[in-house]
């Protein structure tokens, strides 16, 4: 196979790549014009379905299939939400698209909205992206000016309004029904599904929620065809009839202890080793790696022996991780105690649990308290089992929570303790030589008591 040429990031280093003038000079919006000239909404839907595109936000649900869950011939409004609440630790690919190539995202969105018969789209962007906010707003203004947004776009008879909506620094708003609740002006508590948003979403109307990178992929599929998209990536596993494959290019985010952190585009299925060595310049300071997060912190952790893990939708699962997630790889070098790693992870989820479901609210908070105690040199071997008991019992997978935040909190706990148990035990024995075998309840808890 010839060396892969970036597509999604092809133009980000060019002068004024964020402006309409530059985007059109790269052939931008030609695909949209062709859609309006030659294709029906159904044609676009079928094209995207045929491409095998799976959502890039983390769950990897097939995009075209998601669109077909909308009610047929629905007469009321259908809303479209673009999920730009990228907040998964390690992840910044959407930010780069919005800052450097916002029109690619908007063109993909207009095509997606046309395909799903949405006439109002909300672009929900996290608060922490001031430059992306300015660039997206300027790009949207340019589109209204040029007739790519608004009434009767390019004389097609199709009208679309696209509004930016600003978040307020809450991780949970990236969960699609949390996003919808937040958009509606409420606390971002995820909804129980079903009904799924395609049936009852924003303002209780059918709604599609798609990620920023997904929208950019739609634009590329329209330009280059579904065969092109399917020629990149990983074919479905013949032994698994439920595997839809992992097609197309992916924006991988690489950070942590590597020489050249950055966002790199490669075919799905690149291994962690290839990403670190071929793109990231290797582990920094000539050190060895100890571990890596495969796709955002929620996905768990790989040991250095597992870096042959392919980063496609099915890959990390084969190594005990939750999944591909956002494709954000964070490398941890040999000097980092895994207790520190676990502490940072627990701290994040304790802070970001929305508090709606008790197992997640209490589980993440008690996990952090226990890891704090371990770090303070008062940990016991039993704490590792207690932490695992929490991790195995919070989340959608054990069936105790409404959304997947708790699964994301649980996975780094499970992976870190199970894959690095020797290191944790050694740490406990070294830091708490007189008390590590203790199994009685921690005294302070007895004094406080329950009730």
């Amino acid at each position: 196979m010839a060396e892969f040429q970036p597509v999604l990031l092809a133009n980000i280093d060019k002068d004024d790549s964020h402006t309409l003038r530059a985007y059109e000079s790269f052939g931008g919006y030609a695909g949209l014009k062709r859609v309006f000239g030659e294709m029906s909404a159904n044609d676009v839907k079928e094209l995207v379905k045929g491409s095998g595109l799976r959502g890039r936000g983390g769950a990897g649900f097939p995009t075209g299939l998601k669109w077909t869950f909308l009610p047929k011939d629905y007469q009321g409004p259908i809303y479209f939400c673009c999920n730009a609440d990228e907040s998964e630790p390690g992840t910044f690919n959407n930010r780069i698209l919005m800052e450097e190539d916002p029109h690619q995202v908007i063109e993909g969105l207009i095509i997606s909205c046309f395909a799903t018969a949405s006439t109002t789209a909300y672009f929900y962007m996290r608060y922490e992206y001031p430059l992306a906010w300015k660039r997206m707003q300027a790009a949207i203004d340019e589109c209204y000016e040029a007739g790519y947004l608004g009434k009767d776009i390019l004389g097609s008879g199709y009208s679309l309004d696209l509004y930016l909506h600003r978040g307020a620094a809450a991780y949970i708003c990236g969960e699609e029904t949390g996003l919808i609740e937040s958009l509606e002006g409420k606390r971002a508590w995820p909804r129980i599904k079903p009904p799924f948003p395609a049936v009852e979403g924003a303002f209780r109307k059918p709604t599609v929620v798609n990620n920023v990178e997904t929208a950019a992929c739609v634009k590329q599929i329209v330009d280059r065809g579904s065969d092109w998209f399917r020629s990149i990536g990983v074919q479905p596993d013949p032994d698994n009839p439920r595997d839809p494959g992992s097609f197309g290019p992916k924006l991988y985010c690489l950070s942590g202890h590597v020489e050249k952190p950055g966002c790199y585009e490669a075919p799905l299925g690149l291994t962690v080793n290839e990403l670190i060595e071929n793109y990231g310049g290797g582990v920094w300071k000539g050190r060895k790696a100890k571990a890596a997060i495969p796709g955002g912190i929620s996905m768990g952790v790989l040991t250095a022996d597992e870096f042959d893990c392919p980063l496609d939708f099915a890959g990390p699962g084969k190594y005990g991780c939750l999944g591909l997630g956002t494709g954000a790889v964070v490398v941890v070098d040999e000097t980092v105690p895994m207790v520190d790693f676990l502490h940072n992870s627990c701290q994040f989820f304790e802070h970001e649990s929305c508090g709606q479901c008790t197992p997640c609210r209490e589980g993440t908070s008690w996990a952090l308290k226990m890891v704090n105690r371990i770090k303070a040199g008062k940990g016991r071997l039993k704490d590792l089992d207690l932490l695992l008991e929490i991790a195995d019992n919070i989340g959608i997978i054990p069936g105790t929570t409404i959304c997947g935040l708790a699964d994301g909190a649980a996975w780094p706990m499970k992976n870190a303790i199970r894959k690095f148990r020797d290191e944790f035990e050694e740490y406990l024995k070294r830091t708490n030589p007189n008390g590590y075998m203790e199994t009685d309840p921690v005294p302070i808890l007895e004094i406080i008591g329950a009730h």
Partner: protein
């Protein structure tokens, strides 16, 4: 209520009302309205919540409920003229974020979450700022400071008025 007691200015009200046509419900204007007020006052006092609720035909409790969900909006007193978030999530943590936050707090003479006595700076930790390739990073108002060293952090704190 007289104009003197009112917190929302005519300008703020006009800016909030400009959002109305965008959404099929008035409640959806809650976050935009909170941002309008917060941008100007650097906090959203309870009286502003009452006035926003009236504009959006909601109970003040509904607006307050939403506001308190997002730790973002301060209510008791304004944050500093610059509000800086030192990212503490994994990528930044691995490249010295904890030490950076401690260093900056010492330099500015505040605890994390605190505001300097002259009101120039509020220093807080932030969760992942989505700039992991520039770890450790600090977002100060609209400016992202990348790969921040202790020397750069000192310069930043000293530059504030």
């Amino acid at each position: 209520m007289t104009n003197e007691e009112r917190i929302l200015t005519d300008e703020m009200i006009a800016e909030i009302k400009a959002f109305f046509p965008r959404y099929p419900s008035l409640q959806a204007v809650t976050l935009p309205a909170l941002h309008v007020v917060n941008k100007r006052l650097r906090h959203v006092p309870l009286q502003a919540v009452v006035e926003i609720a009236k504009l959006l035909e909601l109970s003040p409790a509904q607006v307050q409920d939403t506001l308190t969900f997002y730790g973002f909006f301060k209510q008791d007193e304004p944050h500093g003229r610059v509000r800086a978030w030192v990212c503490r999530s994994m990528s930044c943590h691995l490249r010295g974020a904890d030490e950076l936050l401690e260093h900056m707090c010492e330099k500015a003479g505040v605890e994390p979450g605190g505001t300097t006595t002259d009101g120039a700076l509020t220093l807080e930790f932030g969760e992942c700022l989505g700039a992991c390739e520039f770890a450790p990073c600090v977002l100060a108002n609209e400016t992202l400071h990348k790969c921040v060293t202790k020397e750069q952090a000192d310069e930043f704190v000293e530059s504030l008025e």
